[in-house]
Each structure stands twice: as C-alpha cells, then as structure tokens.
Amino acid sequence: MNLSERMFAASLAGNRLFLILLPTEACNFRCVYCYEKREDGRMEESVIQGVKNLLTRRAADLADLRIAWFGGEPLLARDIIEDVHGHVHTLLEEHSQIRFSADITTNAYYLSREVFEDLLKRGVTMYQISFDGPREWHDRKSVLPGGKGTFARIWKNVTALRQVPGEFKVILRIHVDEDNLEAIPDFIVQCRDAFGQDSRFQFFIRALSRLGGSRDHQIRALEGGLQDERIAALRKLASSMGLNEYCSQRTFTPCYAVQGNCFVVRADGRITKCTVSLDHPGNQMGRLHQNGTMTLNRERMLAWMRGLFSRDSEALRCPLSGFSDPCSG
C-alpha cells in the first residue's frame, strides 16, 4: 500500500478542515450489528455554538471545508444540520476561497424526496445509505425498536431520488455476510433495474464486520479466507451488470482518522478521531468549547497520525490497530 504524496500533504495541510459531526447519537433503528450505545441524544446547544464558532475562527485561513454528518441517525436532528449549514453559507459569502462539501451517512428512513431536495439545496451532495441485502434479509437486520422491518420505506425513499434533477451522489452500501450471501446476486439485479442507468447512484459492496456491538456474536461474518474472494466476485458481477462501483475501493485510501485536520465532534462536545470505537480510551482527543476553541491531547492526536510518517499500512488503514497510547503512562 502506498500513501500518495498528495494524500500525505493533504492530511497535514492546515488550510483544510474535515469535521465529522454527530448531531445526535440517538437512532430510530436497532440494527443487529450496531456498535453504538445510543445513550447520548441530541447535540447540546453549547456544542452547536462551538461548531459554528470554530468555523468562524478558522474561515479566513481555510481552503477546503468538508462536513460529514453522522450519528446515530443524523436526520433525527435535521434542524441542527440546517442551523450549521446556514452558518457555513454565511461564512462562504465572506470567504469565497473556501471550497465546501458536505455528506451524510443516513439510514434514509426519513430521507423523503422533500427532505433530500432541501438538504441538497443546503449543500449536502453525497449520501451513504446501507442495505443488508434484499428485503427478506434487510428486514431481519435493520429493524425498528419493535422489530419491524425497514426495507420498503427506505427503498421507496431511495428510488424516488432518481427523479431529482441535479448533481449529487448516493452511495448504496450493500452489506454481505454468510446469511445473505446467496441472495446478493438477485439484489444486484434489483439494483441494476432501479439505478443502473443513473451514474449518480454508486454501489459499495462490502463484508459485514463485527465492530464491537453487543450482538456481534449473532453476526455470521464471511469466513476470513474466502471473504475477499467472495466480495470481489460480487463486485465483478455488479460491474458486469452496469452498476456504478463506488471507486474508493479500487485504490488504497487511508482511514480518515490519520488526517491531522480531521475531527469527530460528538453530541456532547467530546472530540475523537474514529467514529467506530467511540468510547475507546485511546480515541478521546479532547473537547470542543462553546467559543470554538479546542482542548486537544496533542500526544494522542499525533499518535493517531503516526502512519503518515512510518507509512505502515496497518497504521494507515486503521490507526487504532496496534495503537499504543502515549498518554497511558
């Protein structure tokens, strides 16, 4: 794995800022593989103000600003998204040198066409939405708190987006495990029939992983030795059918968490690097304050960036892998 020099430089550029914001850590789904605790709710008002003040403080020196909305389910706090984007657009009027982009990872349950068009208008141009295969499997894994399936509503919402004019990207992430493996080819056909001619919809087929959730033992992950081979075969099938493959999987991209200009801001104002191991002690970088300043654990931040200099592929792929906390004494 090679880290491009461009990526190396971009990861250290002080005029770039990549914020992953969790406007709420609550979720309306109870996916069997979820690793989040869903204990914390909506982003506190002081944190929202902190985000806006941080952007104000940084705006004059920024060339690139990317905001990624994550959760929980971020559309449960859509008003916060609107609030922050309103502030961003005010800053963009004053600082025209800033290139701004925004994306969202959502379960799409509340992503009606009306909501989508509103978000698009505000600058959210990329959407990542997951399916656990066709309806019979998705409805067993991505469920509401009462156990009801969610496929029909999500599929209706996503297919409705085809009618929306304009530029945007929808990445449909298809999870594969031993349970749904045999059903994926038919689901690929279903996707081809629905989206195959529309290049704005891209497909990201990947193996379902155990990421530390309380029901990880229920996940029948693909067998390690055959995992890559099976996923590659499914991607090849999708490609042969004319589906647009999400291109990032073709080239090695380091984890976002190695970038020195990337921060996750949790709903309570805690700053982390990684959105998966949210509560891992080594993932606690500091706090965003209401005035927009940050208190950062410098040594820990730098430890997560070590792969940029060592070029160690594992430290670039997942900085938490082999992580030795410099602050643990």
Binding site: F8, A9, L12, G14, T293, L296
Partner: protein, 109 residues
C-alpha cells in the same frame, strides 16, 4: 536555495515531532522543509502534472507543470517581486526563498 529537476522528495527525518496544534485545532508545521513540501504538493492544481519538457530544469512550487505558471502563493514577507513561473519562455524565475523564509517558520500553512 533552488530545487532543480523535480519536486523535492519527502525527508525521512520528518516525524510527528514536527507538528503541533493551535487552540483552533489547526495544524502547525514546525519544520520549514516539511512546510514547504506540503505547500508544494497542495499548491499544484493537478497532482499528476508533469514538468514542462521545455523548462530550464528549475521546478518551482507553482509553476512549470504543463508549461503554465500556476497560481502564486507568495510569502507576504518576501521582498522580491514574484514573477510568473515557467511559461512560454521555458524559464522559471521563482526561487524558494520567496516562499519560505526562516522568520515564517511558526506560521500556519
């Protein structure tokens, strides 16, 4: 200092000790050569651009690639007027002293 021929390669001696953060979470690059390298890489409009074969052998941070002078990022402390880079003449006229000066080491990129 003039860097000749091609872009300066990364120095193996760079490490996380060359970095810091300010109160806004903004990266501070403490090592001038690393700072220059980042400026050079991020200043290119096309990261895959190749040097103009007509260039006289001096590659500057923002010029030469494709024979066009790129956008200039002059150091405000530079005392020498900065001219366009390797344009039609094939001559590159900017030296690195105009982009990185010792007294700017602690500035953010």
């Amino acid at each position: 200092m003039i860097i000749g021929g091609k872009a300066m390669p990364p120095e193996k001696s760079w490490n996380t000790n060359d970095l810091d953060f300010d109160e806004n979470g903004q990266l501070i690059i403490k090592n001038p050569s690393l700072k220059y390298y980042i400026l050079e890489m991020m200043g290119k409009s096309d990261p895959d651009a190749v040097p103009n074969p007509n260039c006289d052998g001096v590659l500057i941070p923002q010029g030469c690639a494709g024979g066009q002078a790129g956008p200039q990022m002059p150091n405000p402390n530079c005392e020498t007027p900065i001219t366009a880079g390797c344009g039609d003449s094939g001559k590159c006229e900017i030296t690195i002293e105009c982009l990185i000066k010792p007294e700017t080491e602690e500035e953010n990129i």
